[in-house]
Symmetry: D3
Subunit: 242 residues, 6 copies
């Protein structure tokens, strides 16, 4: 099967790393393409960036809506996820929901460990709208900005281990959901160190997309995610940006 | 004081009607300017349109961030409201939250009566994130599309009265919140006919903005709505669209 | 317009201060009358006092039910608020709900900072019945009794700043709702010091009453707040107390 | 043991009937005294009456606070219950909470079947503050006013059976809580007809008071129900009414 | 009346102690029989033990289903309680729910103080399914295993006082629910030391069973607790274990 | 990888059908073994059967705890799921949670359509403990008993289509979760007829087990699912049943 992984920000090195993290988990026969929008912010750490990146990502998905068997939205706030589902018949998986649902299979409660504090309100809203609050022990921010992570993985690892330990010891977390797509390459190092499941949403999303594909399930068009194809020409995306 | 009312969709006749509805309620000395983005969808009835319109509206507000005493987001889904608050120190009021908070002062429970069924999941998410679920008796859709309303106000009135009556009689609503900015001109006709408070968010938002201004309250920058001004240049809005 | 502000306790110096706080925010043309019941407790810091004061306040409002355009219940527990709405067609605003709704327009979450610990359970119940729990970060008590505040405003200010800082730093509050009508005169001093919005319910209630009046909204009589006028003679207020 | 049962309204025939219902369930050795306040409304069907009756009831209990082993508040809205607990060291049981807690021992979900529709919002608030919402299937009003019940028990029985059946069949109720102290004499007739447990709060409150007494448990004074006895003289009850 | 108290674990000394605790509270004329299953774990501190003990307890109750006026499930996790209700027409009371409902009559919020940490998730699920979360301030584990308690009551008392104090001072608990049947003999010693109500579920369950019996209430068979007697032969209990 | 699928009831024809449903979805290289306990009820339609079957299933899993890479609990009430997780380091997936989590990826809300009404309270508890209530539109019972399904699949299909349509049209379900392992063979026929995703938990659980295995995630032992291996000999399973 063919999966399009869309990094909603415009930082290409991050897109490349996300693509690699996805391929590392993908089954034989799954083809991963990782791209990012032509416009929008280089990282998503505020509500404004979340909305701008979501619009750019939707324009990107709209341009490939018939060409893939599944789509992955590769940002841990799941920006524009429900909108993306309206654009295509193929399943669209957000990496935050992917990691949270997988965590629920191995832990009574999980915590999300993420980047700087400004993303916390967004993640709280996301967890609430996803109906995941009963299972989420805490959302913990760190000193890391999104783009710092890939500049010094060892530093990021140390910071994430320290904060994850607090989640386990103080909040009752039994598993850690990584709260930024850029943290993916650290998942196994963290898991080994912490001794609890550590879930990167990119890996989770890919295996879930494969599961849905194999079992023959696609996005329901009976409610929230329906959209008449006749609306496509009037969606109002900005011109000549792509 | 000076209030910028932003209609997030691009239908100018609707922008004009919203401006008039706001001026009808504004206090003497309040100056209302109503505008809409240069790009984006002509109306908001799907998640995709909600996100695209929100991004366009944010770009619009960013362009006027220092020039007004308050901003009103004039779409009943409050698209991008929290993001808009990050762009300016002045208060930003969404018309949905404005009408809901005002309704809570005169009714134990309110219902939202809105346009076609596809907006219902969005309004459900909005009510939930706003923490208003305990006070919201129901969200009721009708056969009306956004742009149909202003084409035949008498028809719209009949449809809205019928659905609002169901909300009062079957769901326990004691007040009606109008679920589309385009319904504003009908507020008093509906209120007279129904015998319960009917609230158009545009009017509510203007009086609330005036209240905040008079009492000397602006958006808190201590948490969710903080954003370092240094981020402004990197927000990634699409170029040459405005 | 004419607003009757009822301080539910019998301490006249507090009634005077409340009246002044209200007039300071009122629009030109708004006439504020501040009164208190002839019987009942001198302050409200227990459930018993809350109920006795509420009954006395209701008797007071019943005696003026046709003479004002709006009523304000000036105690931060909103005692007897729903009952007061049954007594008159004019809007009745509680200062707690007023400040909480206004806070929601400028902050994701607010905290209430109040007097001695015995009022906390009452405020918890009030917040819960008002449906405001999702937006309330915490309710924090202090060492101040109601009547101490006006005896030493500088001391009260110091105490309130200390506790408010804890609310902001430890509980995630982005705005402070003052949890006692007697704290009103300190609102702007606290706001300046704390750097987050500080809301006195008296000021909020007055501007909201003006907003409702200007927009033509009165209490819904379709449900919880309906009462047949024929019941008035049999309400059973104590005789010859007023 | 000695139990003081206080009917918060002033209708003496109802007080007598309540006393009889309590004695019918009381254990040998339990002495029941049933009284009502000297002032206040003849029945409680509005928020205003609820508050006035609560204040009068509190004055009544304050006058007997040291003379009984337990107190029962005999109105199905539990008016002023928490305040009453502050006035005495002896347990104070509300008949609504009593019936609800007993119902939880024999049914997954209960419904409250009550008098006219105006009491419904009050009962909703009461159930919510009591934390009983997860177990309450519905609150169903009827055409019966409080004082009509004792005038024609056969009529009341027919009305209550009809509404209770709807609660069982449509709402999933497995037990019925009687929503007015005046319905007590019908409990066994209704239970026989309906085939599900029917609980009158008066009977439940008496057996629970006996249980607490036998087991040696009294009201906690560690939080919500504490009140310094020094406050008693300043509670502000109306004079010369008792 | 005759009450069968079933200790779901197989430790006979504990069964004896539970029987004595029940008899100490029982009214004259109440006959208590305390038994335990012939198979299953010696104590319940894990989910696995909870399920095995529940099955063994159900087999025990099935063997006595027509011979008692009420049944008590004497383990503070209420294992298999709903299932037990399906086996008999007589009331079945769990000691956890019994203590929680009684606590609600004398305290705004209670905490459960229990044995080792591994039982906490089970108790959380139990509180949630019982709909008691709104009233439960916290669940606090200690260093005590179930079987250690009766080996050194003085040590257990010290540990429980220390943890209960934290519940009162840090979590806002106003009453303590003992989270293990083996703690029953310490209830009055703890209550005297702590100064707040301390509730052993065994005592509570016995008085509640007596209350239901006296008032003529049995388990509802209209919903969750119904079971056709024809199913009894096919329930699949293990043979020749009893 | 090797997956042990345990049907908790003792009906072998159902075990065979479940094994086939699992193999139909399994990836190449996944080896499925389907078994059932030696004792316990032939189907699970009451709380009693749920507990007895859970205990028998736990004994079964304990006997194979080191021999498989993952376990599946193949009953739509997820009986004993958390206990099963304590018995082994390998992941244990319940078919109810599996189908619910997968449904959340393609639908805003799902409904569970199940067998006879007596299982509804159990499924309600299960959904609540799983934290899935915010996403579950309804649980709908039918006239089908568990063992009837495989006796006439065409009849079962007609019944399930009728009830599922009500869930979609009246409750807002966008996907259907099959509420009995015996319904698995009908998943694709129902999905084709209904036009919305239809999820059999067996298929979902197998693909999720494969996903966890591929991504290297096992059950967290940091909290609810920890159990010291030293407890194994004292779990108290009935002897000589297996």
């Amino acid at each position: 099967m063919r999966i399009l992984v869309v990094n909603p920000n415009t930082t290409e090195s991050m897109t490349t790393a996300i693509g690699e993290a996805c391929r590392a988990v993908a089954a034989p026969g799954t083809e991963i393409t990782a791209i990012n929008p032509a416009w929008g912010p280089p990282s998503i750490e505020t509500y404004v960036e979340d909305y701008v990146a979501a619009a750019a990502m939707l324009q990107t998905i709209a341009g490939h809506r018939d060409s893939y068997d599944a789509f992955v939205v590769a940002c841990a706030g799941d920006p524009g996820l429900y909108a993306a589902r309206q654009l295509t018949d193929a399943p669209v998986i957000g990496i935050a929901e992917a990691a949270m649902h997988m965590a629920c299979l191995v832990a009574h409660r999980f915590s999300i460990v993420t980047v700087i504090d400004s993303v916390r309100p967004m993640l709280e809203d996301m967890v609430s709208v996803a109906g995941m609050s009963p299972r989420c022990a805490s959302i913990r921010a760190t000193s890391l900005s999104v783009l710092e992570i890939e500049q010094d993985y060892d530093h990021a690892e140390r910071v994430l281990i320290e904060e994850s330990r607090r989640a386990v010891e103080q909040d009752g977390a039994e598993a850690i959901v990584l709260g930024c797509a850029g943290m993916g390459p650290l998942d196994k190092r963290l898991q080994k160190e912490l001794g609890v499941p550590v879930l990167d949403g990119c890996g989770c999303a890919v295996t879930l997309a494969e599961s849905l594909h194999r079992y023959g399930i696609t996005t329901s068009k009976a409610g929230a995610f329906a959209m008449d194809a006749a609306r496509l020409p009037r969606l109002g995306f900005p011109v000549s940006q792509q």
